[in-house]
Amino acid sequence: MEIAGTMMVLLVSAMTVYVAARLHDGKHPRLGRPLFWLVTLMETGLFLLMAGWHMLPALGASYVILMALSYFYDVASGKYPAEESFLKVLWFLCYPPQLLMGPIGRFDRMKQTLFSPKLTAEGLLSGAERLLWGLFKKLVIADRIAPVTAHLAGDPKTYDGVYVLLLMLCYAVQLYADFTGGIDLVLGISKCFGIVLDENFKSPYFATSLKDYWRRWHITMASWFREYVFYPLGTGRMLRSLKKAVTARFGVAAGRRVPVYLASLLVWILTGLWHGFNANCLLWGLLNFLILMISYEWENAVARRKEKPAADSKGIRVLRILWTFFLVSALRLFDVYDTVGETFRAFASLFTLRHLTELSAGLKSIPLGIPDLSVLLAGTGVMILTGFIKRKGTALRPVIIMLLFFSVLIFGVYGPGYDPAGFIYQR
């Protein structure tokens, strides 16, 4: 029922943008604005419908709706002509691997590769390696650590204080392994068939600031909101008029901030709600906005000193990376706790360092045996190493494929006694 309903919604979404794009391309100038609003409201309505039915996770509807909108907006802005074939638009939107969790593709970039894939032996092998690496991260690491985070987050009264730090660390590993693993799976399967999709991650935990992090994590989502919300709104007439009014009243410095602040605010409200139509996700978005604006003001203040900043020393760089890691992990607490209140209380309790002295005893209550812990640590170690080592050449590929295949087979978390765990970013 859920699947049938979702498929109907996806079909309606595809038909809406296909027809609207064809009409727009028919060069009826008067239709431009009405079509824009019709499509935006229709797709938003479909999103809200899915959210209301709690069906957003089904078949990646959230991703499809963003892709549908990007297709129409691109045609409307004259980036490329409307596609004549409805089936091609439908395939672009509903290409199965992408339905899991993105990446959020763009029609012009996907068109060539999706409709004329180039099958090669090299593509098949590199795709297979990537696919297996994704499975390794998901089944060996993410699904193994998932019960630990669930256990810690499920009882916030018991597991407060330093346990919150442990939870942050565990969830950082779990989410990274789960989401990047899923994307590796999607890109790997596609590569096997000669289809090249956009990358979605670029060593996100090496980010030196929250701004840098959002250029490395969920890249296709961040660029979607930047291109289709931030830039149009920030450079549009409405905010420019408001800027003029604010400048007249409060001066140039205040006026200049108007487009940046207000466009960013909308971006982060929408980003939050897109992740989940609830208070936790909304507040997560708003906190991202707040931190980014504080950084913006800080950077402007530093730039006004007119000195060319010296390049960060290695030590400073490491500190920035650790601070950013702490920041994004703290923000993600909204993901693991059920309510906003619980999240704030947990975060606040972190600074009391409660349970620090009894931590080693308390850890025994966590559902993770020594064998599982060993596999987890080894797997996470391998994952971290791959962030530092860039492999040259493909000579080792057959060995790596074999190692990954058997690791997934032997150490993967599945089978009797385990619940199949959905991908986090499918939620």
């Binding site: 931030f230 149009p232 450079t235 420019r240 800027k243 200049r256 487009p259 007119k306 060319k308």
Partner: protein, 73 residues
């Protein structure tokens, strides 16, 4: 043009620097601020579709973009 860019980033020499967008010298906040100022000063509309690495690679390329838009207007 260079003066306007220097107001955003006094620490950068815009008479020489290139690949401003690609190398992250100008970020998305800078782009929005810059376009907003240019639109007001030159009475032009710079559509979001024109925000490309090529159009914003240097002070000169931004200036050329504005000239082109002024001619079209």
């Amino acid at each position: 043009m260079t003066r306007l860019l220097e107001e955003l980033h006094p620490e950068v020499d815009f008479t020489r620097r290139e690949h401003l967008l690609e190398e992250g010298i100008l970020d998305s906040f800078d782009i929005v601020t810059l376009i907003s100022e240019l639109s007001d000063r030159f009475q032009i509309e710079i559509p979001a579709g024109k925000i490309t690495p090529e159009n914003f690679s240097s002070a000169r390329s931004v200036f050329e973009l504005c000239e082109k838009l002024m001619e079209e207007a």
